[in-house]
């Protein structure tokens, strides 16, 4: 019937990219930047990792060094997403353009970059492989913890690639920083009321830039995890799909708390693949309806948080608004 031992690992693996995206977006939103470009950033993060890994595998030939195989894609991914973050910051923080517009343009751009390089990388580099299948490097990404056995427990909790654990750690650390440290307090002040924070001597521009860029880098890792671990190094166009938007929805679902996001992302991951586990007797059409679940759940949560209207559950007050000191 319902195979929980194989369901949970798959739900968690689906949830990890969402968790990266959600944590990144939360950091960015806490500083007042509603970054709708996250889907694009995640594509760029993924494809940059792929490009890094591809070039490395091409140059290394048969003997792939495990350390470099992880380091190069990781760095490429971080740099790629950082550039996207800088672009967003430049346009919205320095040039004070509307965040939604920039975000949407970034999503168009980022998805385009991902699909373009994914589809043309082989042609552009003039190599003779039939498709991008980075099995050699992805092996190092998807290696489970060394002390994991083969029992049900280690299958459910110890079998993931290192990035999955990184995602959980980042989420908890972010939650701690936001809630318990001075930096977090100041960041939240910037997001709630930049004018007041400015008067208190906080460097608004610095905080906003840092939060947005770090947020983008964290989100980019989600793309990297997806390609290198979940998809075992095979890039296919549009395969990442709408997970970026789901990550943004998750931010609201979790009420801007990354520690809740850890569990919520696994829940969403579960909803995302639930259709594979519900017996429908070969009725393909109904499966498509089950795929609606994560979106419907988000909508319901949106409605409820809107209705209950509790103060601590609201978005940062200045979310989406540019800050201009001389405005009144």
């Amino acid at each position: 019937m319902f195979d929980i031992v194989s369901f949970i690992p798959r739900a968690i693996m689906q949830g990890i990219p969402l968790l990266f995206g959600c944590t990144g977006e939360t950091i960015s939103e806490k500083s007042g930047s509603l970054n709708l470009g996250i889907p694009g950033v995640m594509y760029v993060g993924g494809i940059c990792g792929v490009i890094g890994a591809f070039l490395y595998e091409q140059s290394a030939g048969g003997n792939v060094n495990g350390f470099l195989a992880v380091l190069i894609p990781l760095l490429a991914c971080l740099i790629g997403s950082l550039l996207m973050g800088l672009l967003f910051s430049l346009l919205t923080i320095t040039l004070r353009v509307n965040q939604n517009v920039v975000g949407l343009a970034m999503t168009t751009f980022g998805v385009g970059v991902g699909n373009f390089f994914g589809g043309s990388l082989i042609k552009l580099t003039g190599s003779d492989v039939p498709s991008i299948a980075l099995s050699a490097t992805s092996k190092y990404f998807s290696k489970g913890l060394p002390f994991g056995g083969s029992g049900a427990f280690s299958k459910m909790f110890l079998s993931y690639g290192f990035l999955a654990y990184v995602a959980v750690i980042i989420a908890f650390v972010t939650a701690y920083i936001l809630k318990r440290t001075r930096v977090g307090l100041q960041l939240r002040a910037v997001g709630e009321n930049p004018a007041t924070a400015d008067a208190a001597g906080i460097n608004i521009t610095k905080y906003k830039y840092l939060a947005t860029c770090i947020g983008c880098m964290v989100a980019g890792l989600g793309g990297l995890y997806y390609v290198m671990d979940y998809a075992s190094g095979v890039w296919s166009n549009d395969a990442f799909g709408d997970r970026g938007w789901l990550a943004i929805a998750l931010v609201i679902f979790t009420l801007w708390r990354p520690n809740i996001a850890v569990f919520a992302s696994f829940l969403f991951g579960g909803l995302y693949i639930l259709y594979l586990f519900i017996p429908t007797g070969g009725d393909m059409a109904v499966k498509e309806l089950y795929k609606m679940l994560p979106y419907l759940v988000t909508i319901i949560v949106l409605i409820f948080t809107g209705m209950r209207n509790k103060r601590e559950n609201q978005p940062p007050e200045s979310l989406g608004l540019p800050y201009f000191r001389e405005d009144r």
Binding site: A105, T108, V113, E288, M292
Partner: protein, 369 residues
Amino acid sequence: MSKANREPLLHITKRKAMPWQQSWLIRLISIVAALIVCAVITTAATGLDPMSVYGTMLEGAFGTERKIWVLGKETAVLLCIAVAMAPAFRMKFWNLGGEGQVLIGTLISAACMIYLGDKIPSGLLILLMVVASVVVGAIWAGIPAFFKAKWNTNETLFTLMMNYVAIQLVAYYIIIWESPKGSGKVGIINQSTNAGWLPSLGSYQYLLNILIVALVTILMFVYLKYSKHGYEISVVGESQRTARYVGIKVDRVIIRTLLVSGGICGLCGFLMVAGTDHTITTTLAGGRGFLGVLVAWLAQFNPLAMVLVSLLLCVLSRGAGEISTIYGLNQSFGDILTGIILFFIIGSEFFINYKIHLRGGARKKGGSN
């Protein structure tokens, strides 16, 4: 951190209104700059000299009579979505659900064609499809609007999520309707009878679509500029408090405006199914729901500007498509170029709205980025 009371190198102030010639000049400069960057990137990717790249792109967009018609069709679709978005935006309601509202319009149109194609005369069928798609599109946008008006639910994400609900609904029906069975596609609907297909004016297949969109654009312009509703939308967009104070029923305006917005999106879906594609896929809207948002925002509700921006983006994407085909590159190349152009135009808004002063009182005029 603080550098004791030194005047900063750059100082930014808000501009008062800028004469329109100057602001359009800035936008034009930004587009030219963007095209230069695009050329550099294309050259880097294909190894061609930039002039022939643009030659190929123009060839791809305007090369043959058929290509010009396709361009017109694509522009009409994008323009229609942008026009649909305009009233919601003027009210500062971020309707990111264009994608879903268009798709749900295509879905109901296709449903009418499939189930009623051989039962009622084609003229009546088309009329029914128009009404159904407008109503369903309006409902799809009306749901988030209702919750926004009543409980101030976040509309950006609500409309966004509605897109995926619509996509999955379409995916569900595609499997039910698929023909031939197992192909995962619906195929051309009513190919033999042409029931529910929009007639082509003379030999021009896409002309009727373009004319309808042009009419909708003009009507929307009049609606926003000269009607009482249009005025109420502007007031609500500027300040909800002011609107309440002068006795405008804000929640009613929100819902009504989104019904209009969604209805036009639904109509756009109808035009796609009945006028051009005669089939249905989950990617029929193809990101244009989002692109329409950008067009509406960039054009600042100026209908002529909307036409121009839509045309520019379509020329670009058709041109990039041509380059991709010829040089064996991926079709997404167009998205990259579109993104670059958008960044530049968006960035140029800064130089229209703000003024930069250099240290020491010397004034520098804002050029483009």
